[in-house]
Chain length 222, copies 2
DNA sequence: TGTTCCCCATGCGCCTGTTGATCGTCGAGG
DNA sequence: CCTCGACGATCAACAGGCGCATGGGGAACA
């Protein structure tokens, strides 16, 4: 875990760096806003601790510039409580959390951990499956084909999900029926064909391959 | 946020429930240890307030049984100070925090909030969530839309909070019901639709997107 | 007693699931 | 190589379900 501290009060910056290093983080420190922006743009940090009052470029601008460039590294802002700067403004510019000086070291560490955890969950906890040009986010129930979102109905999504979970394997119509339709359903297997047809129309014909007499197979990336 | 209070002193339990409900939590109360264990095992509570001296099964055993079953719901234990039971033992059995009777209501609420924050509920320690033009301060229970504060009722806020905690993911009506309404409620899922409707009216129609057949999704800014 | 909030019920409109018919395709066997 | 039968794909039409809006009744405050 790499952290960047952008803070011009050198004593504070140093003591934070020391403590966070002891926690097991790799910590870099800069004392200037512009310098911080460069560092953050060029290296992949896991989190930024960003003061607002900075020489070179103030924290708000560093933050909004990073965001404008598409950088979504978690940012913890440090604000002085004397009111010249507003906490809300920090959040508006795209910071993820703020802390008002003076703060306790324990609280800072807790917030940092929380932000890192949040990031971790946001990416890891939501199982996103990528198969070539197809991206399926089961938590958000969204499907993307080459950056374009594809709108699927509930049943279509459920069928696709079965294929994704067993990508590359042959899945029979009966199995799809068992997993997607409820127990009581005793209709025709043709219903599966109908949905495969719909998926092919929306996602491209080559994605789901027919295995005659056995079922279908979702093509894995190649 | 659903809380379960397990406390056999009925007057105390009732007054806590009343106060916490006013804070916007969905609160269930039981007066018996065994009953509490069952409830906690079967429903997804966000926090337990657990007395030690209880009929049926004492608080220690309730706590350790839950932990043994892999349930890691935050538990706040209430201990009498007369020494028959030991605070440390409570923590040993897997409680997250304890409070010695008599305690002030304010302290209790503070501890509860701290635990919920610490546990994060998937959201980290920051009480403020920013999603595009929406800013939700869960600690202060205030909501801002583009610098204007929006007045929400307790239930409206509770529903919104669920969405915010799982922003970008699909949340089903059932899940909302489970977390916002208490267990005594067994009404129609339609009630969720009514509240989503109210939120859309106050916060704009595009914020909460309907995912037909699955639930709703709070749009993340981007 | 008035106001606010919460829950329920109703009706409506649109989307979606399902069906059955028809058309296309594959492969085995003559 | 051709034919035929079986399997699969697609389409259109219908009915029911799902989600939304709205208003009223009732409870809980002040």
């Amino acid at each position: 875990m790499r952290l960047l501290i952008v803070e011009d009060e050198k004593r504070l910056a140093l003591s934070l760096a020391k403590g966070l290093t002891a926690e097991g983080y790799a910590v870099d420190v800069v004392h200037d806003g512009l310098e911080g922006l460069h560092r953050a743009s060029e290296s992949p940090y896991d989190l930024l601790v960003l003061d607002i009052m900075l020489p070179g470029m103030n924290g708000y601008r560093v933050c909004s510039t990073l965001r404008a460039a598409g950088n979504d590294v978690p940012i913890l802002m440090l604000t002085a409580k004397d009111g010249e700067y507003d906490e809300a403004e920090g959040l508006d510019t795209g910071a993820d959390d703020y802390l008002t000086k003076p703060f306790s070291y324990v609280v800072l560490v807790a917030r940092i951990k929380a932000l890192l955890r949040r990031r971790g969950q946001g990416a890891g906890a939501s199982p996103v499956h990528v198969l070539g040009e197809l991206r399926v986010d089961t938590a958000a129930r969204r499907v993307f084909l080459r950056d374009d979102e594809v709108a699927l109905t509930a049943k279509e999504f459920a069928v696709l999900e079965q294929f994704v979970l067993r990508a590359g394997q042959v899945v029979s119509k009966g199995e799809i029926l068992d997993h997607v339709w409820d127990f009581a359903y005793d209709g025709d297997l043709n219903i599966v064909e109908v949905y495969v047809s719909a998926l092919r129309r929306k996602l491209g014909a080559t994605l789901i391959r027919t295995v005659r007499g056995a079922g279908y197979r979702l093509e894995t990336a190649r």
